[in-house]
């Protein structure tokens, strides 16, 4: 509980802008330190080029980078959507039957400790070097968190609300649509965020191993030819893409589960 404070708009604006400015200042500081250190110690550009050189490369190689980024991003989105749909459907099916749940759920939980990125070489042997391998890898990584989160949401509906719905003679279908799904929404949206986040990892690792296109291929190729500023540029772009995706989902989450305080 925050103590009530008298309304002071100026102080409030100052506090809010501080919350935005401080992290920005930290990132600028990191950039400045990066620039200063590479200059002061004359770090070889083969090892770590300064931020200016990286920016220069980004502009110079924009065609390659944009093309790779579009390919990477569309694969990430495709894998995410497939995993969300399949994971949601699986959770609804598993959620309806206690027997199926008892039989299958321990294994779904167990997949969480398996380092699924290790599937990459195996998938390449099965599906070849190409988009299929990457999509399957990203799907396998992102599917299970979606199932687990959706199921946790569907089964987490409070007993009281369920009893109330039964007392109104609601059918199982009505309970699913009108009670369980709305109650599960925060958990489902949380699952979607995890799913998207790990799909990025799946696609990028897939591109490292099955390098036929995408930012991962740019990174692997450029680091093999010691074109380090391109490596750093592509790595930064992947970071920003991941950030934008998750940031967008965060905004969507705030809209969808507006009733959750502090989310």
């Amino acid at each position: 509980m925050r103590p009530r404070v008298p309304w002071r708009p100026c102080a409030d604006v100052w506090r809010r802008s501080g919350a935005v400015l401080m992290p920005v200042a930290v990132f600028l500081l990191i950039g400045a330190a990066w620039s200063f250190l590479t200059n002061a110690f004359e770090v070889s550009p083969l090892l770590l080029p300064g931020p200016v050189a990286v920016l220069h490369t980004m502009i110079e190689e924009r065609q390659v980078l944009v093309e790779a980024a579009v390919s990477t991003m569309s694969e990430i989105l495709l894998a995410t959507v497939i995993a969300i749909v399949a994971g949601f459907a699986t959770a609804v099916v598993i959620g309806t039957s206690r027997l199926v749940r008892r039989a299958v759920f321990p294994y779904i939980l167990a997949t969480q400790v398996l380092p699924k990125v290790a599937l990459a070489p195996i998938l390449i042997a099965w599906f070849g070097i190409g988009m299929e391998s990457r999509l399957v890898l990203a799907f396998l990584i992102s599917y299970f968190p979606m199932v687990i989160n959706t199921l946790a949401g569907l089964l987490g509906t409070s007993e009281g609300v369920l009893r109330y719905a039964h007392s109104l003679a609601a059918s199982e279908w009505q309970i699913l649509i009108k009670v369980r799904l709305p109650a599960a929404t925060p958990s489902i949206v949380g699952g979607i965020k995890i799913t998207a986040g790990v799909a990025v990892i799946g696609i990028v690792v897939g591109e490292f191993v099955a390098s036929d296109r995408g930012l991962g291929k740019v990174i692997i190729d450029s680091s093999a030819s010691l074109d380090t500023s391109l490596t750093v540029a592509a790595t930064l772009i992947i970071g920003v893409l991941g950030l934008l995706l998750l940031g967008a989902l965060e905004v969507v989450e705030k809209r969808i589960v507006y009733w959750q305080p502090g989310r």
Binding site: V26, A110, P115, A125, V205, I220, T235
Partner: protein, 255 residues
Amino acid sequence: MSRASKNTSFGALNQPAIAFGVALVGLWEALARGLSLSQHVFPPPSLVIWSLYVRFDLLMEHAWLTFYQTVVGFLLSVVIGVVLGWTISKSRLLFEALYPVTVVLQVMPKEALAPLLVLWFGAGMLSRTILAFLIAFFPMVINTILGVRSLDPSMRDYATSLQCSRWQFFRKVELPWALTSIFAAMKISVTLSVIGVVVAEIVAGRSGLGYLLLFASSRLDMGFSLAILLILAVWGGALFGAVALLERQTIYWHR
């Protein structure tokens, strides 16, 4: 319905689960033997176990390396993450400056750093341990910060009214409180550290299970590849189990 009974019905293996597992492995075995696919492409489970047995020495040689790196990366992430998180949560300035930064960095896919780390630190143990550390580190920091800061202020007032010393307050109130969220993060981080090592080994390795896996599957020796995957799964499960056990011993009052 108590939490314990929920756990036993979902988490633990039970009769339907065992039946399902046996049926799945049986079906796989039957399909692999029945279909006229090459054993190299789609090996039956028995071949996987057989590869495990035949190549056990080779497997263990590489497995120890992977095991060692995951443990070192994980422990580093716990120690540095908790100390740093605790420091950040204690200072308003540090919190406002660094907490959003850690959240942003947490979202970025650290796996993408693997080739750069290999470039900087070589294709040896150092780059892999660092990647494991980097991936496992951010959940530790964030959860420590959230754990420390979520302490109810009235607890602080209560402790003050009992004239607790700073050490007593830390030892008896703050630490036990924060441990719940620290352990939650450790269970995430321990799995992530395995992922970090494996990614680094796959991207640029000359040793370790990730490298062995890449080698085996490039030769289309799928029986051996799946055996390696099995070892990784068991190792991930063992690490997770160890942390969960430690959690239950340490914060036995929780749940």
